[in-house]
Amino acid sequence: MIPPTFDYIRPSSIEEAVSALSQAGEDAKVLAGGQSLMPLLRLRLAYPDALIDLDRVESLRQIRSENGDLFIGAMATHHQVVRDPLVLEHAPLIAKATATVADPAVRHRGTFGGSLAHADPAGDLPAVALALDAVFVVRSVRGDREIPAADFFVDWMTSAMEPDELLIGVRVPKLGPGWGAHYEKFHRTAQAWAIVGVACAVRRERGAIEDARVALTNMGPAPVRATEVERFIEGRSVSENSFRAASERAAEGTEPPGDLHGSPEYRTHLARVLTARALTAAAAV
């Protein structure tokens, strides 16, 4: 179908984008890669008054080291993220999860920031950002604000950003030596969204798990941190038995949806199985 009409604004700097967003009012939308927004417009599920297109704001595409953290600009494309040397070195979990997103053509345009701002509970990157304790940097005419991942994803397709706030980028603490990471995604066909996904990073020391971060995709209206799994596994030996016992706790505190792809019970089962696989792969046993 043909999208509804809208005004089109194409800023070339962050400042221009922020001021356009503040002037355009509540019914304006930011256009990043358009890989979620364009289908919504074509299906007439969204009727924005104006689109503010970030495609030419080159400074938003940077990926760099900043005060010991990794900073990924909101407009870095999925394509860029999966082959960026800094991401591969300091946040391999992001590269691994991003490689499972959609297909090459969608990854050429779809962006890291767009995937997070969209806050789709079936999206792969929100759980990854949550597991890595990422911090979201947002800007408006009122100034900058930093939002920890734990507070960013509020509800189904709802983030903590105000309508006049622009996501600038995300700060990700680097994982040092000893850490292993894995994203385990269960989906029906190659290009499809996760029925359930598990983002996992663990730090091994002398045969034991010293530190664990586990978060789940599509096990509720927002990504969920599997705190019970983390608490159980920390300090235990790296072994199949401890991973299996830990993963039994994966669905605690979740509200899995039921839909065409699976019932809540099925998702609960998947969360346990996939958590065991993710822990095993992350700890490389």
């Binding site: 179908m1 043909i2 999208p3 509804p4 009409t5 809208f6 005004d7 089109y8 194409r10 358009g34 890989q35 364009m38 289908p39 417009l41 074509r42 299906l43 689109l51 297109d53 495609d55 394509h79 959609a102 297909d103 090459p104 053509a105 969608v106 050429h108 345009r109 190659a190 290009q191």
Partner: protein
């Protein structure tokens, strides 16, 4: 109405476009390039795939205004003077199409795949084409065609490095 300047299949066009005009509609309805079909409303099928500054994109999820200053290649811009691109030839010879609806997108996505990986395995071809759906062929012959084109397209480079 914004004015755009865009190069499509080697020819530069200047046009006024409504912001909501999709790139695929611009190509088909304004430029008459109906070699690029539309198969869905959800950015799933890949039938509308074109190269956007050399990289594959689904032209149903890009606005025509976003193509301002960019270069687009459609299936119609591939061969020269009546000769087919090696990928087109391989699809023809390996019988990699039946109804042909997915074919323009498949061919452009395959060319994009070889740009990044000149010698892909069968597995890598299947993954590289995951965004392009074919309702007819069962994919076997498509994978075979891409392999064949890869071999052919690597030929000149190989003979250059050969002693």
């Amino acid at each position: 109405m914004p004015r755009i300047r865009v190069e499509v299949d080697g020819v530069t066009y200047e046009d006024d476009v409504e912001p909501r005009l999709l790139l695929v509609h611009y190509l088909r309805d304004r430029l008459g390039k109906v070699g690029t079909p539309i198969g869905c409303d959800t950015t799933n099928c890949g039938a509308c795939t074109v190269l956007f500054d050399g990289m594959s994109v689904k032209s149903c999820s890009v606005l025509a205004v976003q193509a301002d200053g960019r270069g687009i290649t459609t299936v119609e811009g591939l061969g020269t003077d009546g000769t087919n691109h090696p990928m087109q030839r391989a699809f023809h010879e390996e019988h990699a199409l039946q109804c042909g609806f997915c074919t323009p997108g498949m061919i452009l996505a395959s060319i994009d795949l070889l740009r990044e990986n000149a010698d892909p395995s069968e597995e890598e071809i299947r993954e590289g084409l995951e965004g392009n759906l074919c309702r007819c062929t069962g994919y076997q012959n498509i994978v075979r065609a891409v392999r064949k084109a890869a071999d052919e397209m690597r030929q000149p480079a190989q003979s250059e490095v050969a002693p």
